[in-house]
Amino acid sequence: MADESISRRGLFMKLGILFNGLVATALAVPIVGFVLSSITRGRSNAYLAWVPLGPVNQFPEGETRLATFKNPNVMPTDGKTVDTSCWVRRVEGDQFQVFAINCAHLGCPVRWFPQSGLFMCPCHGGAYYRDGSRASGPPERGLFEYPHKVENGLITIQAGELPTPGASAALIGKKLPCA
């Protein structure tokens, strides 16, 4: 039997499979690249630009006020979603704390109650003290803090990324490249 030999048709069939495999691999590169672009784009630093919250004297000493800012990375279809709130606590002088609005439990918007000096979350009952540290409820940690700086009487923050319990280490813990 001529079982060792390869017929002409068999060879073309194998070449056809090989050719299709090569084309599929070549096409997979841009397709996967597109799908993962939201991760890789995240590495470019546009969204890490510093955002101004306003003049320092808008924030009275010893008080915590709500401030809003626009995400530095805006797409035309984003609508209102690029506007975000944060809680600004002016401890004294140029000493500030800027808390993300998102609860460190599952990201719901926390509200500040000056009367009891607590941040309370409406979703699952998390509560935090005025310095952002955990008071009670399901959160495992204190409120997320945005990196901030005071320059020329303006307070600016670096807050382009949604803070989440897992990603928070990336946001706060390590030094971020300045855009």
Partner: protein, 495 residues
């Protein structure tokens, strides 16, 4: 009539579908399976078709853009003729679909239909369940309102907890660093193309297997499934005690399907469409986001789990549950089918149903959440203030102003996060009250930094009055002793 049959023949000569369709519709099913218990699969399929039809209609108006989705839903509700009805049908269809799929799955489990040779039908059914839930969640996202926005935040927070890949998963899910236009667009692609496409494929496989393997016979206690004999026994059964699916069994499916469609339409007309709630504007923070009905149990569970157990439960729990469901036909692929002889199966279903029901019920009044407006909205009932001293009344004021009321109820009004305080003086002595207020503990924040000594004294004086008439407040016996010993020259006990 002759013309019609001629046209029919013309088509069939080319399509050649009449014979296989006749074969499928007349395939013999066990007479016992022509039961009202066997109608949920066809009902789920019908609702799926309804969802496709209403979904396509909605897509003609809906704009999947974060800037415009909410307004396009408003015009569907108010401007487009019958837009509200199509939205309501789609929303109620979604709720009914999840419910019917769950009932179908429960029936299949209790009737042992997942056993040999229908293991793969069950496994594909699990994927269909997961896709149905995926459709329910992504559909809630497309209703791009406050609940959808913050629901995405919750999804991102859960995804972020996956070790190592968490932060990447969040960006992949959101399509960028924040919830924005790209997030809605990718959920639109998932909800409209990806998951429905997979659903069509898997539903076809699921149906094909039901036809090829035959519908499960009514389980008789004591009739055991054996791999070696089941198939021939089943063929024997359909030969001896079988009947053609059409018309013998199909009329019950048709009745139930019609009933379900009427029920969905009735809910749609009576209750109307779901939302949208407030604009998806993250600067509006006066909101209490809640998930849709079928995820409420999860919302409750996330509030009640101890913090340390939460991440493991969130990450490992679903994997274990899905693995168990997938492995079920291999763990018990043979043996008894009847629920009458499978007490653990019945107990499992009851336990799951009761747990999910209880959690869903709890999520209706969220006892774990502070009532944000109780401190200014719920007054201290008069009876707690009759005959009180000025100091005690001052304490009642502190009690309200410092928002204790947001977590503690008085006279059944106020938050339920902490215990009701109507009779707290019976449970805690004065010293214990002071300690609890200042240091907190047991899930209560410490108020030491936020109360002056005078305020604490007044507050505790008020709390000391909270005991039922005729029942004395709790007292520390050693304190009595210490006080009584003082006049006789003994030194009072050191605090």
């Amino acid at each position: 009539m002759r013309l019609i049959s001629q046209i029919g023949e013309w088509f069939d000569q080319r399509l050649q579908l009449a014979a296989p369709i006749r074969e499928i519709s007349e395939h013999p099913v066990p007479r016992s399976s022509a039961s009202w218990w066997y109608v949920f699969g066809s009902a789920a399929l019908t609702i799926f078709v309804l969802q496709i039809v209403t979904g396509i209609l909605l897509a003609m108006i809906y704009v999947p853009s974060a800037g415009e989705a909410w307004s396009s839903l408003q015009s569907l509700n108010h401007d487009v003729t019958l837009g509200w009805f199509i939205r309501a049908m789609h929303g109620w269809g979604s709720n009914f679909m999840v419910a019917v799929v769950l009932i179908h799955m429960m029936q299949v489990f209790l009737f042992g239909a997942y056993k040999f040779p229908r293991e793969l039908t069950w496994i594909i059914g699990i994927f269909l369940l997961l896709m149905t839930l995926g459709m329910a969640f992504s559909g809630q996202v497309l209703r791009f309102d406050q609940d959808a926005y913050w629901g995405l935040g919750i999804g991102a927070s859960i995804a972020s907890r996956v070790p190592i890949i968490g932060p990447f998963a969040v960006k992949l899910m959101l399509g960028g660093p924040i919830i924005a236009g790209a997030t809605l667009s990718r959920f639109f692609a998932l909800h409209v193309f990806v998951i429905p496409g997979m659903l069509v494929g898997f539903v076809s496989l699921h149906l094909l297997m039901v036809l090829k393997l035959g519908i499960n016979e009514w389980p008789m206690p004591g009739r055991l499934v054996k791999r070696s004999t089941y198939v021939s026994e089943y063929h024997e059964l359909t030969k001896k005690d079988g009947a053609p699916f059409v018309p013998y069994a199909v009329w019950k499916d048709m009745f139930f399907v019609a009933f379900i469609l009427v029920a969905i339409a009735a809910c749609a007309v009576y209750f109307g469409p779901f939302g949208p709630t407030g604009r998806p504007d993250p600067t509006i923070i006066q909101t209490s986001p809640k998930p849709d009905y079928f995820f409420l149990w999860l919302y409750a569970l996330l509030s009640l789990l101890p913090p340390s157990m939460e991440t493991p439960a969130l990450l490992i729990g679903p994997v274990v549950v899905i693995l168990l469901l997938l492995l079920l036909p291999f763990l018990s692929g043979e043996g008894e089918k009847s629920w009458r002889r499978r007490p653990i199966a019945v107990l499992t279903i009851s336990l799951i149903a009761i747990s999910l029901g209880t959690l869903t019920h709890l999520s209706g009044y969220t006892p774990w959440s502070p009532h944000m407006n109780a401190w200014s909205g719920d007054p201290v009932p008069d009876r707690f203030l009759h005959g009180t001293t000025a100091l005690q009344r001052q304490g009642a004021l502190v009690f309200q102003v410092k928002q204790c009321r947001n977590c503690h109820s008085l006279g059944d009004l106020g938050g339920q996060r902490g215990p009701a305080l109507d009779s707290v003086a019976v449970r805690l002595t004065e010293d214990q009250l002071i300690r609890q207020v200042i240091q907190g503990g047991g899930n209560m924040p410490a108020y030491g930094k936020n109360l002056s000594p005078a305020e604490t004294t007044a507050l505790v004086a008020f709390l000391e009055t909270l005991h039922p008439a005729g029942q004395a407040p709790a007292r520390d016996a050693s304190r009595d002793l210490a006080l009584s010993e003082t006049p006789e020259g003994h030194a009072p006990a050191q605090p």
